[in-house]
Subunit: 116 residues, 2 copies
DNA sequence: TTGTTTCATTGCAATATTACGATTAATAAT
DNA sequence: ATTATTAATCGTAATATTGCAATGAAACAA
């Protein structure tokens, strides 16, 4: 999964574990409501083109296109060209892998946590 | 949980659902490996002060302090003053609530997803 | 009191993100 | 061939993020 190995700008990625960088890169993509909305829409609707999303979400076409690019970059969606339009959908295999990574982080052992 | 209702800069939060904004705000905080590392450290170690984290993580003290502030802001950690140092720990109740929100998003129904 | 420790805050430079108008590229329709 | 449709890309403005040196504030130690 080379999607998870990007540089993060000013972020000093090299001092963190691969796992920590993975989680951060995934989370960063989820860190915008438009991308959350796009994913939810793709889960609800079977098939989808970019134009639908522009109407559905209410941002300009270049903006949606840019968000789609980031989701594609992480591998969570894939698009297939159909005439003049592009059919985007969830990349299930990568979604499952992503989920696994996030669950390891979210399901941390709380039994030994000290309260202060 | 008023932690989830912040403005997101250029982001047009008003056109998204409260749920979508919640998820994005949580994810944004997880979108930096230092904050992931801090949380993992707080789960591993019972109690913790900022200085420990500076040594542990390898960023300058003001940088760690800033990341701690964001985690505190979302309510995922809380700090209690102990002399000259501050004891930070996980806010378990808020952690559980956060987890619930994220799991609803991650555990979306994949049975009806169309592949393309 | 004077210094020491510890963490927060301020200020700033470098870079990233968000959003959109304008344009381009590619296909489809007439 | 010409025009329409659709989505990607470019360019740019506004804003946010990251990181750290310098400084500040508060509690403790001598």
């Amino acid at each position: 999964m080379k999607q998870y190995t990007y540089k993060m700008g000013l972020t000093k990625s090299e001092i963190f574990t691969e796992q920590q960088n993975k989680i951060a890169l995934i989370a960063k993509v989820f860190g915008h409501p438009a991308r959350v909305a796009i994913l939810e829409h793709l889960f609800r609707i079977n098939s989808c083109v970019c134009g639908d999303l522009v109407d559905e979400i209410g941002l300009a076409q270049p903006t949606i296109s840019q968000h789609l690019k980031e989701l594609k970059h992480l591998g969570l969606i894939k698009g297939s060209i159909e005439g003049t339009s592009v059919c985007y959908c969830i990349n299930l295999e990568n979604w499952m892998n992503m989920k696994k990574v996030m669950l390891v982080f979210l399901d941390q052992d709380i039994s030994k946590v000290n309260l202060c």
